[in-house]
Each structure stands twice: as C-alpha cells, then as structure tokens.
C-alpha cells in the first residue's frame, strides 16, 4: 500500500490541508472575535485579523463574567466543569473496571444476565431517560449540587464493555499463574490487571473527560443556582441575552477558554491515549 508518486503526494496533502482548514477556520474566527471590542461586529463584517482587546476581554470574562446575562465569572464555571468532568471520568472508570472484573473473572449466578443488564443501558442514554432521572435526582435533593451533576452520568456500559473485552484477551494462564503465586482476587486485580489496563484507562480517561466536559442538557436541567453552572451551558446563557445583541467578543473569549482544558488533557495524555487505542501487544 505504500506508494511513492509525487503527484499523489501533492494530492493527498491538498486534501488534508483543505480538511484542516475547514475544521480550523471557525476556531480561528472565534479566536479573532475574542480579541476585538464590542463594536467590531456591529458593522456586520467579521474581522479577519486579531484586534487590540484580547487581554481586556479575557480578563473580564475570567474575573467578573457577564452579569447582565446571568452568568457567573468564567473561572467558576471552568472549575465546575473540571470537577464534573473529572468526577465523571474517574467514577466511570472506577465503577466499570470493577464491574468488568466481576463479570469476567468470577462465576456467580446470573452472571450473563448481569452483563446484559449493563449492556442494555447503552440503549438508554441520559437524553432518553432524562425526565425519570430528573425526578429521582430531585426527590433525592440533589439538584444544585455536584452529586446531582455527576452521579446520574457515572454508570457506564461502554466502559464496562471495553474493559470486559480487554480482560477477555488476557490469557487465563496469567490468572492461574498468579493464583499459584499466592495472589488472591484483590492482589491479582491490583498487581496484574490494573497495570495491564494502564493504557486502556488513559484512553478512556481522555474520552470520558471530554464526554463529561461537553455535557449540556443535564447541567442545564439540574442547576438553577449560578454557583453550579458549567462552562458549556454557561456559554449558552451568555449568548442568549434577552434584550440586546450578544457581546460576541466576550462570548467567544469564553468559548476559547472552554476549549482549553480538553485540549490540554489530550496533549498531555496523547502518547498513552494513542497507545491505548492501537496497542495490541499484551
């Protein structure tokens, strides 16, 4: 499959460049917008070059926010989002790796049933079960709390399934060797399975962190107190000011800030992430 024809090289690069431009251009526009003053958009023509108000815009959004839109300062929403995304990612991984361990390595009655019960929840994402879930969370008094933001999203069939598939590829002899070596179930899990799952955990962490970060509908429902607003839903509130044009420059500054943490997570975990996705060697 490795061909080396100059024309083909040029063509493939061209296609890739066009693709990158299509993806990157809106992000660039958002960045440019965040560096201009409020009047830059009034003329209906979006500027293409950075303006002089970058530090001012970002500073304002981070520290005081747009009180007219009913949104708290961005730093608070960033912290809320981080707490939510981290709790969801770590919670999902912890719960699903343990349940996958139980399903793969222990023989108990209705084991298969348990697996299918977990698996079937794949068909019931938050959006489908949102009203009953809201009712439960409300009855438990978890509205406007971090618990309410995260716990309903933690149970994860996807991650359980992925870990199950990974555990199934680990030869049984490894477990048997550990048993002969005097390792009980917990020791085997800690000393053998966890280290072997390292790259899988990293890959899942990246995916789940972003999943938690971009949650929109659920935080919108369960938070009415602005102290618990997350950044993604907060942006919506910023943009929907009732009686005037939105301050696009400030909204875009918030957007840029909102994109930062997921990008950082990917950059720092990139090596492990890619390894977890492509690694076949056991």
């Amino acid at each position: 499959m490795v061909e080396n024809r100059p024309l083909l090289n040029i063509l493939t690069h061209l296609v890739l460049i066009v693709g990158v431009v299509i993806v990157a251009f809106p992000v660039y526009l958002a960045f440019i917008a965040s560096t201009h003053g409020a009047d830059a958009f009034a003329r209906g023509l979006a500027p293409m070059l950075p303006g002089p108000h970058m530090i001012e815009n970002y500073h304002r959004m981070l520290t005081s926010g747009l009180s007219s839109a009913g949104a708290p300062p961005v730093w608070l929403m960033l912290i809320n989002s981080t707490i939510m995304a981290l709790t969801i990612a770590i919670g999902k991984i912890a719960i699903s790796i343990i349940s996958a361990y139980a399903i793969v390595y222990f023989k108990f009655p209705f084991r298969l049933l348990a697996f299918w019960m977990i698996f079937i929840t794949l068909m019931l994402p938050v959006e489908v079960r949102i009203i009953p879930t809201f009712k439960v969370v409300a009855d438990l008094g978890m509205l406007n709390s971090y618990a309410g933001l995260t716990i309903p999203l933690i149970a994860s069939a996807t991650a359980t399934f992925l870990f199950r598939q990974f555990f199934l590829t680990i030869p049984d002899e490894l477990m048997e060797a550990a048993r002969v070596d005097g390792a009980g179930p917990l020791k085997f899990f800690r000393d053998i399975l966890l280290p072997l799952s390292r790259t899988n955990i990293a890959a899942l962490f990246v995916i789940l962190f972003i999943y938690g970060w971009v949650q929109y509908l659920w935080p919108l429902l369960v938070t009415t107190d602005s102290r618990y607003y997350t950044i993604v839903m907060g942006i919506k509130r910023l943009a929907a000011s009732a009686d005037a044009d939105p301050y696009w420059n400030l909204v875009m500054a918030a957007v840029m800030l909102a994109m930062l943490p997921p990008v950082l997570v990917i950059i720092f975990m990139q090596r492990l992430f890619v390894k977890g996705l492509v690694e076949t060697e056991k």
């Binding site: 030869p171 002899e173 048997e176 048993r179 002969v180 070596d181």
Partner: protein
C-alpha cells in the same frame, strides 16, 4: 521434596461429561512422572487438579500425605510451568521471579539469594531487568522455569512447557529440564502429547486415554510390553503394527508358536520386522511393497501383508520398487499378543 498420591481422582463437567474417570497414582520423592496421551485424554485436567486450578469431583490428592484436594493452589506448595509461559508482561524478569515470594512474605535477603541462584542455574542473569516481550521464546521458557525454581516447592508441575518452541529448541530445552530435575531432585509431574518427549524425560510414564490410565511404567517397560492396544499404538514411532490373527495365520512358522488363550491381535514393532533372514527361529510373512519413505539414515517401508499395511523401519535405503514381492521376518518372541475385545495383553508380562 515430596511424594504425591492420587486416590481414585475423578473430574466431571456438568455432571455427565467425565474428563478424568478415577486415576490412582503414587509418585515417589524426586521422581519425574510424565503424563502422556492424545489431546482430550484428561492429562491436562489431571495436572490442573493437582495444581488446584480445577476442582476435584471425587477422590483425594495427597502431597506429602496431606490431603490438599480442597486447598488453594498457593497452599499446596507446588509450582507450575505453563504452556504459554504466563509471564506477567508488565513486570521485569526479576519482578516475575520475585512475585510469588513477595506474596508469601519472604524476607528481602532471601528473595535476592533465591533469584540470583535461579538466574545462575538458568543463565538468565543478564536478562533480569528486561521485560518478557524483549525475550525470545526459549528465554521466556527459562524465566517461566525460574519462577518455579525460586519458590523451592515440593513439586513442579509442567503443562506442555515445550510445545510453543521450535523443534530444535525443544530438544535442547528437554535435555535441560531433565538435567535440572535430576539436579534439584524435585518431584515433578509433566504433561505432554509428544511421546518422544515423554520417553526421553520420564522416570515413569503414565499413558492416558479418555480419562483413564492405560499403563504406568518406566519408558522401557511401556515400550517393550505395552499393556493395551492403545498403548501399543500410541508409544513408538512409527507405531506398532497391529495385525489380526487371521492375517498372521498364513505366516510360515506361525503354527508352531504357542500363543496365550484369547489372543486375536498380534503386535509387531516396526524395528523388529526385518527384510533379511535372521539367524534362528523366525516367522516369515509374504508381502508386497507399497511405499518406501527414505528419512535419512533409515527408511520406513510400507508393506501390504494379507490386506494389512505394515510399517517397517529398515536401515539405509534398500533398493525396492513399489509392487515388488518381499519376505518379512520376525522372531516369534517379538510378537505382542492382544485381545481385541478387552484391548489388553493376553500374556502376563504387564
């Protein structure tokens, strides 16, 4: 150092599939016992029961006189070498060797001493800080054995440890396992489906077939006087020729032989049939050459005798064409008499 006693050991899966149908075996201290048989004969299940990796349906497993049938693998004071080595991939060779010792709280100094010693014995000292994936198959095999040695267990259990190696390495490792076992004098159970491996390694062989022991004996005993038709056909390469008595009846000199009662199958080893008339009393069979397979220093000669194909091992490369008439000779004492119905020998050697 230990003795192992299996008393009427049984294993069934789901109630009706019997994998092991009552095995009795006494292993003396320091003995190397090889369990051999075709796949599905229950030999691996038997070994895994001794290891504690399979539950016991009925019967007793005694190691040093203590019934361990319900004990955890780690409590049985055994060490196991697996077919695919089962090394912990994320640990270094040293980590692999140490893991079992750490789990039982062996003092640090003692761990270091044993690891160094095992590494010396197996010549894996330079690899101690490498990961298993950086090792070749033979080296991994050594590490797997090292992991068993450092434990200084009562018994070694080997589950087809050489079957993942290439032919040359297999022969080399076979010799090393034998030497190692002689040197450490550790009681060992060794499972293989390779009868050559079994013959060369074993102090005593246990030939198994469909969950039952067919014969227990030294390799020579098993080869020289197979107790059953199955053993006769399984041990030896090419396998023993098993000839119905009707096909033998025409052989010159056969009428003079006194066979035990109920004999209806005669076994003749491939190397005891010859194509040149020997001295003394002999049977003479008439046959037609079907095929000559030269395999280097010797040849396998397929000869049709009264509708039966016999295989002979003959030295060199005799000048024979397919379809040629040929006379085969064998001393009457070379005959192994069997009964078809019971599958057993009809004389009382075994």
């Amino acid at each position: 150092m230990a003795t192992i006693n299996l008393v009427d050991l049984q294993k069934s899966y789901g109630g009706n599939v019997m994998a092991v149908k009552g095995v009795n075996l006494s292993v003396a201290d320091g003995e190397l016992i090889v369990l051999v048989g075709p796949s599905g004969c229950g030999k691996s299940t038997l070994l895994r029961m001794v290891a504690g990796l399979e539950s016991v349906t009925a019967g007793r497993i005694e190691i040093n006189g203590r019934d361990v049938a319900k004990a955890e693998p780690a409590e049985r004071d055994i060490a196991m070498v697996f077919q695919n080595y089962a090394l912990y991939p994320h640990m270094t060779v040293r980590g692999n060797l140490e893991y079992g010792l750490k789990n039982r709280g062996t003092p640090r100094a003692e761990i270091d001493r044993r690891v160094t010693e095992a590494a010396d014995i197996l010549e894996i000292g330079p690899m101690l800080d490498r990961k298993p994936r950086e090792l070749s198959g033979g080296q991994r095999q050594r590490v797997a054995m090292g992991r068993a040695i450092v434990r200084e267990p009562s018994a070694f259990l080997f589950d087809e440890p050489l079957s993942n190696l290439d032919a040359k390495l297999r022969v080399q490792m076979r010799v090393e396992i034998r030497k190692l076992q002689r040197r450490l004098k550790t009681t060992s159970l060794y499972v293989t489906h390779d009868q050559l491996e079994a013959m060369t390694l074993a102090d005593r062989l246990v030939v198994m077939n469909s969950g039952l022991v067919e014969q227990i004996g030294t390799p020579t005993e098993v080869y020289d006087s197979p107790a059953t038709l199955f053993v006769a056909g399984f041990i030896g390469s090419p396998p023993m020729n098993l000839i119905p008595i009707e096909a033998m009846a025409a052989a010159e000199g056969f009428a003079n032989v006194n066979l035990p009662p109920n004999t209806d199958i005669i076994g003749l080893r491939a190397d005891q049939l010859v194509i040149e008339r020997p001295e003394g009393e002999t049977l003479v069979l008439d046959g037609i050459v079907e095929l000559l397979e030269p395999i280097g220093g010797e040849s396998h000669l397929h000869v049709s005798v009264a509708g039966q194909t016999l295989i002979l091992r003959v030295p060199g490369r005799p000048e024979l064409t397919d379809g040629a008439q040929i006379k085969l000779y064998a001393p009457p004492s070379a005959m192994h008499p069997f009964n078809r119905e019971t599958g057993r020998r009809t004389d009382h050697i075994a």
